[in-house]
């Protein structure tokens, strides 16, 4: 297969071109009739008109007597009126109004006496009657075309005698995962086996868009197998997603397969991530509507971006759902973020409102990091003609959550400790509307974020080398005018994590010499502690292999050691325990939360303090191990 360079067409242009080609080839929705009682959430394909009136007869709306109102005129408290049996009829709610009657008098307002009734007030014509068509008149339009059917809509249709409703048929979307390395989800994948979860993610997205996903078995990287799978899906589906193999590498057969069974409209879009998408289609027969086929990159983040920005608008042609324009907002970006002029870039971000201003904290940009989509509250959209942003600049954000949710999100940034996740979980178990967004940027990152008003709280454990004390010296340096307080959290033990049984015999800092080390990122408290400990010992960090290898969390460091790619790393006991590593304690340190004085009165902060002081928090930290709780949640004045 000849090596092929991808195009780099701007997103809007690519989508416009693709939709135009599909329209030109007659892509359109189809319809079906469904019982009204099972039409919830479906989209009407034409206007729905009432077949009968609701109510469809004049119905008594009270238990009482029906009569001709004219005969009661003149009745008052002082001049009551008597009616004979022949002049009224007893009725119950829902009974048809008897002929000759035009009013109902409630049973409570009637005095009955042996063949007579006495009335102390005149009846008004049409009182206590649900007149025919009061709710809906036959012929009225109940729902216009292309309207989502709600519970009340179903009720109105049934009331109006509409038992079947014509709706847009839900398109069946075939999903074909490809790749030699991927395997069905399993709890214990072998080395070299990558769990295939894209089809699950895409199925979920499609379900939310009103489509019916149909997942095919995993296909190996062989052109003829991929073509065979594609041909089958084209027969059975209204649209097809071909996952992975969309680049221009030696084993990327998607484009070739799509050309062989149909047409490729374009290959390569100027977006990051998601560039190597392939947009094509196949015609079933000259008379039938074409089947869109999209080659989606295999990295999940790239795939999701292509699904959202390309495949969703295509599906809207088939589902006829109103394009939902999720809310957009402007937010201050929390750190410098360079971007290339080559691509429009989509960056997952945590969002929160601090000091009345929305802040966006960009998450890891790796195309393989699906967890970033779980954490993201929104997507920063960086235009192609932008070279990126300086910290604090306003950026465009597509919100994934409602503005109300974002407004009540507690934003914690800074040093990573699992206790933050545990505290957030306890908050949520106690108050269902609690949302905590924590991101890990190291202790110094936490200080700067609080200083710049981009986080409510910053997790810090910063050793001052001069005094040998924690945190307070940094606050004095970075907040000379005060305005922030320390929320006491925990004492925790840091140690060298090593393989089980400590095969390299590491007992102290000196023993790291010549070993493979895995470090934490610059600005993290753990790295500052390591440098301090190295200086105190005779260890020269320049002799340490791997000093420049950076991980962002304790667990990531532990994972590297557990995998055997490093001999040691500094971290906390709970991380070592999760990975079954040996742990050589080297220091106790104070982990606190830095918080702006003014933020202390926020409800989420009050909740957090309550959690830190509670038994459940102590219990969970005891289970994790390595923590000493003195006065967690206590506010410490420091200046």
């Amino acid at each position: 297969m000849p090596f092929e360079y991808l195009t780099n067409i701007p997103l809007d242009e690519a989508l416009k071109k693709y939709l135009a080609v599909l329209n030109e080839h007659g892509l359109t929705y189809s319809t079906e009739n469904v019982p009204t009682t099972s039409a919830l959430g479906r989209i009407t394909s034409r206007a729905v008109y009432a077949q009968i009136c609701a109510p469809h007869y004049n119905a008594c709306a009270m238990d009482g007597i029906a009569l001709d109102a004219q005969k009661t005129f003149g009745a008052t408290e002082t001049t009551p009126l008597q009616l004979k049996e022949s002049e009224f009829l007893r009725v119950d709610t829902g009974d048809p109004l008897p002929p000759g009657c035009d009013a109902v008098v409630m049973i409570e307002d009637v005095i009955e006496d042996d063949g007579f009734v006495t009335l102390y007030a005149a009846a008004t014509p049409w009182q206590h009657i649900r007149q025919i068509g009061e709710d809906i008149s036959a012929g009225d339009m109940i729902l216009p075309s292309f309207t989502a059917i709600t519970p009340a809509g179903m009720g109105a249709m049934l009331a109006a005698g509409v038992m079947q409703v014509e709706v847009v048929r839900q398109p069946v979307v075939g999903i074909i995962p490809t790749g030699d390395e991927i395997v069905l989800p399993t709890a214990e994948p072998g080395e070299g086996a990558i769990i295939e979860f894209n089809s699950t993610i895409f199925s979920g997205m499609l379900t939310g868009w009103g489509c019916l996903p149909k997942v095919y078995p995993i296909i190996r990287d062989e052109l003829d197998l991929i073509e065979a799978a594609l041909k089958q899906a084209l027969q059975e589906c209204d649209a097809v997603l071909l996952i992975a193999g969309s680049s221009a590498g030696t084993e990327d057969y998607s484009a070739q397969a799509m050309k062989d069974v149909g047409e490729v409209v374009l290959h390569g879009i100027a977006i990051k991530p998601g560039k190597p998408a392939i947009l094509g289609f196949s015609e079933k027969s000259p008379s039938a509507t074409p089947v869109p086929v999209v080659g989606v990159p295999g990295y999940p983040v790239s795939g999701i971006i292509v699904m959202e920005n390309i495949f969703k608008p295509v599906m809207q042609l088939l589902t006829c759902r109103e394009p939902e324009k999720g809310a957009d907002a402007k937010a201050a970006i929390s750190r410098r973020f360079p971007s290339t002029l080559k691509y429009r870039e989509f960056v997952r971000a945590r969002l929160g409102v601090v000091d009345g201003k929305m802040v966006a904290v960009p998450l890891s940009s790796g195309a393989g990091v699906v967890s970033s989509f779980v954490k993201a509250d929104g997507i920063i959209d960086i235009p192609q003609d932008s070279e990126g942003y300086e910290a604090g600049e306003l950026v465009n954000v597509h919100l994934k959550h409602s503005p109300q949710e974002i407004a009540r999100t507690l934003v914690i940034t800074g040093s990573h400790d699992p206790l933050l996740d545990e505290a957030a979980d306890i908050m949520r178990r106690t108050w269902r509307d609690s949302i905590v967004a924590s991101s890990h940027v190291g202790s110094m990152g936490g200080i700067m974020a609080v200083k710049r008003g981009e986080a409510h709280l910053g997790g810090i454990h910063l050793l001052d080398e001069a005094s040998g004390t924690y945190n307070v010296p940094y606050l004095k340096r970075y907040f000379p005018n005060g305005g922030v307080v320390l929320l006491e959290c925990v004492e925790r033990v840091q140690g060298l994590m090593v393989a089980p049984g400590n095969p390299k015999g590491i007992r102290q800092m000196e023993d790291l010499k010549g070993k493979e080390y895995v470090n934490r990122q610059k600005g993290s408290g753990t790295r500052i502690l390591f440098d301090f400990l190295a200086k105190k010992s005779v260890l020269d960090v320049s002799e340490l292999h791997g000093y420049d290898r950076e991980e962002f969390t304790h667990t990531a460091v532990a994972a590297a050691i557990a995998a055997g790619t490093a001999d040691a790393g500094l971290g906390i006991l709970s991380a070592a325990r999760i990975y079954g590593l040996d742990f050589i304690p080297v220091a106790d340190e104070q982990y606190d939360l830095l918080i702006a004085q003014a933020a202390l009165e926020l409800e989420p902060v009050e909740r957090l303090i309550e959690v830190l002081q509670g038994d459940e928090f102590a219990r969970r930290l005891n289970n994790l191990g390595g923590y000493t709780l003195k006065n967690p949640g206590e506010i410490r004045q420091w200046n």
Copy 2:
């Protein structure tokens, strides 16, 4: 059964008391394990932690060669470096990083030569490697408790080896419809038979809240039958709704049945509609969680209000879904709206933004008018201590649609003509995001709404008696300073609608004397026309039986005649046709749309004009009959 007065407890107090009693009796959710691949939308019942790292091994991220980066140090364009076969290994994307290697060089950057490779740049340690745990580290919290599982969340769990997830079990909610008069939905209900659609509406609402509805057969109004049904549902469900029979009438057995099988906490809430709700529960066994039982009023609007305000918060105890606080807003109410101090009142309203201000047009307040919920964009919430509002006062509104949708809604009020619905439907078929909210308040109502800035357009057909001309004289009178234009619409024929075959021999206005008439509401153009025609003839309207009987639409008038409760009414041909009535033309009139000059530039108005001028509109009006189209959509200057 003794007659029992209902309590009138404020809503907040009633709910608080009910929830407290349920809590006290141990009402709580239960959990179940489901496969992660089918957990979409479910709610986690505990925090989910990663079981393995993702990736779970150091994986090559490119096709190329794996090597020890140290061996490449010093390689540059000018000082290339050669490696022997034994110093590197060929790898594909996804392959495990071979032992002894810490970098991958892309195949494109390698020159291969018979047993050697030549490199022109040094490799950086860990380049092109997806390090173990890059996405997720084992032990990381992926999702906190009580979190809705998204597509990306499913992907992250699968990637982290979480194949099963503990979620909140969806509560099964039994729905028992009761009543002698109700029947299963049918296209041709007999007289006295009311279609049972509440269970369909409530099922739809419950589905949306994450519950599993279970609808039982309709039960007649007999205490022992209701009790038997209730006992069965209590065995099979986590909560039960007993529909209708919740008042204090002679055939209202719900409260008694609930007392016989469990406990009634309270009966009667100070809300309108929805007052006669019954809140109770039954204990399955001393150890099991109790089963909430709510007696819901049978009128659909009352039922929906009770479901939303009482049953939904109860279900949240069982579903553990975050209480979604729909957006609230302030809106100017379009007309005087009195309210009683006895109840907190919920009023369905159409909403739109006119001149930058949100406007709420209250819809019919009848408790049986389910169609009002279909039309409503929001619910006006009138506090119990309010006596109501004057026109233009700001009211609290709970939004049913997004603020974006409301902002792009075209608000048309005034005289009713089916052409408005047809035009709205054509707009929506042409532009999927078009929304039109039309309400029927008569021509004079339309003039006043546009004058007060509460509608974009007003449908009018107003005869000036003095000049015998339409619309323009009214504009001169009500808009002496101009600022509005007329959008020409149609000429239409008005006539007397009479029963098929015209049994009463009505040929002209005079013939109405002594007959049963059904009129339109005051301020409607049709009523003004009728008064004018009566004056021109010798008909004295005081001799007309039913002159005070008012309907709000042409179809409602036609329905009354078709039902035989009136002999004649004035209306348009299309209404007569729908009901198969005879039609005696009496006048041609001009129906136009009044619009503020400034609103002409709004996109939805431009769309409407395009529709009025189009072939599809002409085709549909021709099908309806009785219209003459001259220059529809033309703007007429009039002053």
